[in-house]
């Protein structure tokens, strides 16, 4: 029991520290990308920025509703089944990938319901449509995951990582990695981590919002992004596998932040993609065919090797 509590505490601490660091990077690095200097009031180089934002939000009271509670719950529940490192996993099971994906889908749907609730009088939001689009981006991701599962012949995330001890899956599945990464990026863009969300209209809407609900919303968005990056790490980049003498945990952290910064850079260098028809076109004409081809090729390869012993 004590060990589990310790693990929970560790996971929570890691997540909170990461949220803090990522919020700071998000503020400072995006400012530097604009050739600005970024927030600097609250002390040396604006280190206290996330803290200030946090107090700012809770200083203005607003009623929180039941949705925010569920969002908070599910954003934490994901980490019950997703391993951060080899030891930091609460429940070890054989179907952890499926369970994690289910939680993720539920979380996204909850988030959209929540954003649809806070519709301002001079604004409109078409949350239903956005849910469908964001969920449709899961289809190529699922195809890519399926081909990974076929290769490694397991649904447990831990097993997938362990099976990559020789070489990472990205070498076997470059196309799958590409589609998965683009789908992650588009989800990242739709969620609006950079303060400009598409969930609600308005040019600066991401900076808006008050109360505990906003904090939880922001927290859960970070959780989704962390989840996506960690899943990408686990599936394609070897997870917590160490290289030579470098410890796996350090490798994981390095990979995590590199991917986060790359996502931020891509987000910054691209404009707003809120044209539904274009998003759908990208998805159905590029991502899904490519990932499907990848899946079929993998499947055929495996059948040829295992069933007919051709290769």
């Amino acid at each position: 029991m004590l060990i589990i509590l310790k693990k929970v505490f560790f996971i929570l601490a890691i997540l909170l520290v990461n949220v803090y660091i990522c919020e700071y990077i998000n503020n400072k690095l995006t400012a530097r990308m604009d050739l600005r200097r970024g927030y600097k009031i609250s002390g040396a180089k604006g280190i206290g920025f996330p803290l200030v934002r946090f107090f700012k939000y809770i200083s203005r009271s607003e009623k929180t509703n039941i949705w925010t509670f569920f969002i908070f719950l599910f954003s934490l529940l994901i980490w019950g089944v997703v391993p951060i490192t080899a030891n930091l996993i609460l429940i070890e099971m054989d179907y952890s990938l499926l369970v994690a994906l289910t939680f993720y889908i539920i979380l996204i749907i909850l988030l959209f319901f929540n954003s649809g609730r806070t519709s301002y009088s001079d604004a409109y939001s078409e949350s239903g449509k956005k849910v469908l689009i964001l969920l449709s981006f899961l289809i190529p991701a699922l195809f890519s995951i399926a081909s990974i599962v076929l290769i490694n012949k397991t649904l447990s995330l831990k097993e997938i990582v362990n099976s990559q001890h020789q070489y990472w899956n990205i070498i076997l599945q470059p196309l799958g990695f590409m589609t998965f990464f683009i789908s992650i990026f588009l989800q990242f863009k739709l969620l609006g981590i950079r303060g400009k969300s598409y969930l609600s209209p308005g040019a600066n809407i991401g900076k808006e919002g008050t109360g505990l609900g906003k904090i939880i919303e922001k927290f859960s968005i970070y959780m989704i992004v962390f989840f996506l990056i960690i899943i990408l790490n686990i599936l394609y980049l070897g997870g917590w596998q160490g290289i030579y003498i470098i410890r796996g945990e350090i490798m994981l952290a390095v990979k995590f932040y590199i991917i986060f910064v790359i996502l931020l850079l891509m987000d910054k260098s691209l404009g707003r993609i809120d044209s539904y028809s274009m998003l759908i076109r990208i998805n159905w004409k590029f991502l899904i065919p490519v990932s499907l081809v990848n899946f079929i090729v993998t499947f055929g390869f495996l059948i040829a090797r295992d069933v007919y012993n051709l290769i």
Binding site: L29, R32, M33, D34, L35, R36, R37, L265, S269, L270
Partner: protein, 140 residues
Amino acid sequence: MLRLIKNFFIVFGNIFRKPHTIIYPRERIIIPDGSRGVLHLKVDPDSLEIICKGCGLCKIICSQGCITVQKRAEDKGREVLDEFCLDLSKCIFCGNCVEFCKMNAIDMSYKYQLAEFDKKNLKLEKTELVKPSGTIRDFW
């Protein structure tokens, strides 16, 4: 597609470039010559007297009515400026008063540091307008 990759590297390179930002309270943007700021009453460098005689032409010219001038006759019939008040809240910084002044007694300073909590503080008296804040450039 190539352009997107180029844009990505532009953004990436920006992280290592020097920001364009002027760090406001420390650095200041130099306002160009002839920029129009708050009115300034010129002082004769020899006698250290205000050149303005209080003819009141600027008061008539000003469309917003932000200038109030009063003159006073001293002994020997010499006319001296008694009161010169500029209501900054009304001024639109058009510079017509400077252009029309026959004595060439007023000019526009570079003063922009103007925000006030109380509207009453925006009324500048003669003593404040004479201050040499505007003679050399006072940025910010």
